[in-house]
């Protein structure tokens, strides 16, 4: 299947286009006729089950894999050109940090590869609490610290497109939040393709979703436009529990299925009429979950 979708912004000249891309590994086709283009600075969350082809998509866009057919272009230029590569940052799901170097040396190594400068290295050392680690060998770092160093390299040099394959996987919540904030700030004027298995994170930071299933583009949409197949509302109460059906209780919440969000005020009024004091109301179903169904 090939789905032609184009989202554009009046203000941005950036365009990343996948045109009928089929790609894979030495003859084994993983991506099949994927077509989309992105122009608007935002976070595009790339979702799909394991083995769907998300990492292959990132590798193809990054120019690591050459498409069997079709093309990946940045502003009309093939992504294989060095000038196109110089507009991309790629962060794979493995750390990609060379052994045998201290943190500072590793960042200088990355800077050399990216044609960044010594000053960029000093600036990035101040990010993500890396400065205290600068003299330590990579092998001495914890998994979370390694991930921070790995992520720091995408801030060495400003580029237009960021391909981030599970950047917050295996991070403690504090660092994950910090990194999400940095990426959110980036996305104000950059295009970020962000793969994640965390659907709540995806919904929280993504503006668009690109769903890949069995190597094909299954969906490209604004996340705000997605509706879950069942609209579930969770209500946490401080008083009046006896008026609520026990069968609806799921942990701390009483769950109600409604036809849509427009019915929420009516439900609230009904509950308050029964003497229920409401502490919190939240949507229980994530529309992105349906993409894995």
């Amino acid at each position: 299947m090939s789905t032609e979708i184009s989202l554009s912004s009046q203000n941005s000249p950036m365009e990343l286009a996948c045109k009928d891309v089929s790609s894979g590994y030495l003859g084994k086709k993983v991506l099949d006729g994927v077509t989309f283009s992105v122009r608007e600075p935002a976070i595009y969350v790339v979702l799909g089950p394991n083995g769907a082809g998300k990492t292959t998509l990132f590798r193809t866009i990054a120019g690591i894999l050459e498409p069997y057919s079709g093309s990946v272009e940045i502003d009309g230029q093939p992504v294989g050109l060095q000038a196109s590569r110089d507009r991309l940052h790629f962060l794979s799901h493995v750390d990609g940090i060379p052994d045998g170097l201290r943190v500072e040396e590793a960042l200088r190594f990355y800077a050399s590869v990216q044609r960044a400068t010594e000053a960029d290295v000093e600036r990035v050392l101040g990010l993500l609490e890396i400065e205290p680690l600068r003299g330590r060998f990579i092998s001495e770092l914890s998994a979370g610290q390694k991930k921070r160093v790995s992520i720091a390299r995408i801030f060495l040099k400003e580029r237009d497109f960021y391909l981030l394959d599970e950047p917050t996987a295996n991070l403690d919540p504090k660092v994950a939040t910090e990194i999400r904030d940095l990426i959110l700030r980036l996305s104000r004027d950059k295009i970020v393709l962000y793969s994640s298995h965390n659907l709540f994170e995806a919904r929280e930071i993504g503006r668009y979703v690109i769903a890949i299933k069995s190597g094909k583009l299954a969906l490209f949409s604004r996340i705000a436009d997605l509706r879950p197949s069942r609209y579930l509302i969770g209500v946490r109460v401080t008083r009046g529990e006896e008026s609520l059906p026990a069968a609806n209780r799921k942990g701390e919440y009483y769950v109600f299925e409604l036809p849509g969000p427009e019915e929420v005020p009516k439900l609230m009024a009904e509950l308050q009429g029964k003497g229920v004091s409401i502490r919190e109301v939240k949507e229980m179903a994530n529309p992105l979950e349906d993409l894995f169904a």
Partner: protein, 238 residues
Amino acid sequence: MAGVEPRDARLPNITATTFKRGVLAGRLYLIIGTVVSLILTFSLLRSAHGSTVFATTFPLEIPLFASLGAMGGLMVFVSDRSKGVLEYLIAYGIKPSRLFANALLVTIGLSTIVMGLALAVGLGGYVASGNTISTDMADSILGYTIPMTYASSLFAAISGMVWSTLSTPRVGVNSPVGVTPMLGVAPPMVVLVLAESFDKAYYYYVTAGAAAAFLVLVAVLLFASTRLMGRERFLSPM
């Protein structure tokens, strides 16, 4: 279209960084290769006076220890592959062939260290103990020791890299890094077997020919190996 940006000259060169890492990663092999070859050199020197043992044996031992001492190049390659460094470098425009070539350059550098030290100590000690370097011995060093050192080291390294590229990462003695030192023995073994089949007059043609054949094989594997980069197993080691 924007041109390619220049590199900040104060930042390290990728090949130089790889060499430094190769020395660090393979330091134990480098130390063992150097020390064992020097121990053997000293023991041969003790019997050198008035004997042909040193002149005939010394040039033969160096390639074996040099290929052992040069393991750092392969070790960096295997480590970078399993940690996703190679994938990262390709994404930023480094050609796959350069990644293999960098590891081979490290191998050449490390084997030169082992061979250079052994030759300096061995020949220096030999001359210092009142001997002269014969034409046969010089021919042996130029026709066998030097080409075989590079042929053995490079053949072992490229075989290990190709094997690592084709296989799931593993550690221990049953891994490319564990087995590759044995592969360094192949070129000298081929020479020894062939030398028996030819007249002594052709000995140097056999050694030079074998070394050249292995170096051509290294070049062919280097050329072919860049195509292997597209394998999922290579790019998804974890």
